[in-house]
Symmetry: C2
Subunit: 331 residues, 2 copies
């Protein structure tokens, strides 16, 4: 039984983490909820008990926790994750702050396992998580040459502020979170732009995919677009495999893979959709077909709940994975 802390407990992902901890009956002896000063004092119900959210301070981060689920943005994570770590906790961090550090594990439990050189484990980018889940079994079976992502990302990826921009847009109000309207629009701009013309979101998908799949020379490219959808990301994945494959073989591999639901019956208009993915734990894959413009290439359409598998659920699954590894090592 562990001492658990959730940082960012009043945010969109933090609330989902609590929901998943509850639903999965994750065992712990003690739960502490942290937030920024602004939200401190908020009362949160969990399994019939009331928790008062505490302000996260440097002192608090030196209290003894076993696990910290951190969803509070890059700056907060950079400041507090190392403190929690020094005090002996394992931090599972939803921000991008540590993801690409060489000694930091970047984990999707269906795909890879932590080495724990550091006690900070990074939860990957939302769109990346749902994409590597189907790519991993394809990599194992056929090898991967190239991946091209084109995304349709929900506003909940930007937290409550993103959701408000869309809802307010429906009422004719101007955006306050995004630089342009998201209502009635497709916004080819997620996170900030880099020198190379890619956004950081696109760069995350490129870099994190290679790291998680442990294929450093994999060719990856991405175009990330926000669409007026409240929840669940859709990703059009174009994948080139190394050894020849058929659509039927790819379907078989994905149908057998952990964490994936194959929905690929177009004659009955059945394919993955954002509206049907919301609230679900799995990654949905369908519309599998050959891309005849490149050798050994295929199109996949992939959807998932960006707050669950794309964030909170994956973080809790990392926690479960650690529990299990530790239990096994104690046998």
């Amino acid at each position: 039984m562990y001492k658990l802390a959730v940082v960012g407990a009043t945010g969109l992902v933090g609330s989902k983490m609590l929901e998943v901890l509850d639903r999965k009956n994750i065992p712990f002896s003690n739960l502490t909820l942290f937030s920024s000063k602004k939200s401190a004092g908020t009362e949160v119900q969990f399994k019939g008990q009331t928790y008062v959210v505490r302000e996260l301070t440097e002192e608090a981060a030196q209290e003894p926790f076993d696990y910290v689920l951190m969803s509070a943005g890059g700056g907060t994570s950079l400041q507090f994750s190392p403190l929690f770590e020094q005090s002996g906790a394992i931090v599972i961090d939803n921000s991008s702050a540590f993801r690409m550090d060489d000694d930091i594990d970047l984990i999707v439990p269906e795909v890879n396992s932590p080495k724990l050189n550091r006690q900070i484990i990074a939860n990957p980018n939302c769109s990346t998580i749902q994409s590597v889940v189907p790519l991993k079994p394809l990599a194992d079976r056929f090898g991967l040459e190239r991946v091209s992502y084109t995304t349709y990302q929900a506003v909940s990826g930007s937290g409550i502020a993103g959701k408000n921009d869309l809802s307010n847009g429906e009422q004719g109000l101007a955006p306050t979170n995004y630089p342009h309207p998201i209502y009635n629009n497709a916004l080819p701009h997620i996170d900030v732009f880099q020198e190379n013309g890619y956004t950081k979101e696109e760069q995350k998908m490129i870099d994190e995919t290679k790291k998680i799949l442990e294929i450093p020379d994999l060719k990856v490219t991405a175009t990330c677009v926000r669409v007026p959808v409240q929840d669940s990301h859709s990703v059009a994945i174009n994948v080139t495999v190394k050894t020849p494959a058929t659509v039927e073989e790819i379907r078989e591999v994905l149908a057998d893979a952990e964490g994936i639901v194959l929905i690929d019956d177009v004659t009955n208009n059945q394919y993955p959709m954002a509206v049907n993915s919301t609230g679900k734990d799995e990654v949905f894959v369908g519309r599998i077909r050959t891309d005849d413009s490149l050798p050994n290439s295929f199109h996949l359409w992939c959807t998932a709940d960006n707050l669950l598998k794309g964030a909170a659920l994956n973080a809790v699954q990392i926690l479960e994975q650690l529990h299990q590894t530790r239990s096994e090592s104690h046998v």
Copy 2:
């Protein structure tokens, strides 16, 4: 001065055709508006005059017209376009019925010109039109090897019924036009599915691109997705050119090209967007960057008003192109 008919005059594209004819002061001696039996009798205002919409019958299609702008679906076009043609008219048809016939011109005036083996000229698919406008100057300058499209298509591409599905969805009502909700969703399904797993919309983009650009061996692939946007399509275009090019050279070529507005200033958050394209005649292109996962490859983000450049405007531009060619040949 010509006798002009507009078929489907009460529909979304037909109404836009009238708007463009008015705005561009297209000269004609006589205007006749046709619709299905259902909408016949509707009164339409045009330049201060009231026109009563007539039912399109086989007899009416044998009246002498010089030009017919046809936007009434494939079945109606198959039945009536040849009758108009036999009676001496040039038909500019917005349906897909004749587009891929060998003797039929498929025209985007910035890109190609009609040969008039038949007097039926096809107006291409909406997403294709806006995509070939930037691809043509790139083909001329660098040669094209491969094109991969991923689309974000507005509901007005499905006519009034599509627009109603989205508006009604905002009010919590179920869809009646699409097989699934478009509100709060991304629908990877436009037009019907074919045996090869592609939708007809995707196949149109593939086949029509090769025909319009007159590059039969061009490798083209497409994923077409409907998004909850009322007007203007966005297309993520991935293009592989034959001779090496730089981002700067591609920008220069597109900045000089007819019908294109280059918006590519990401440091100031300036890029093409559906909301800014609606009501505009041009094709907007931006977010130009190298795709380092393939040799000589680039990403472009391209938006346009699907009812204007993607349909009504392009049809009227074909009419203007014909006028001009005929005037020149009379000099």
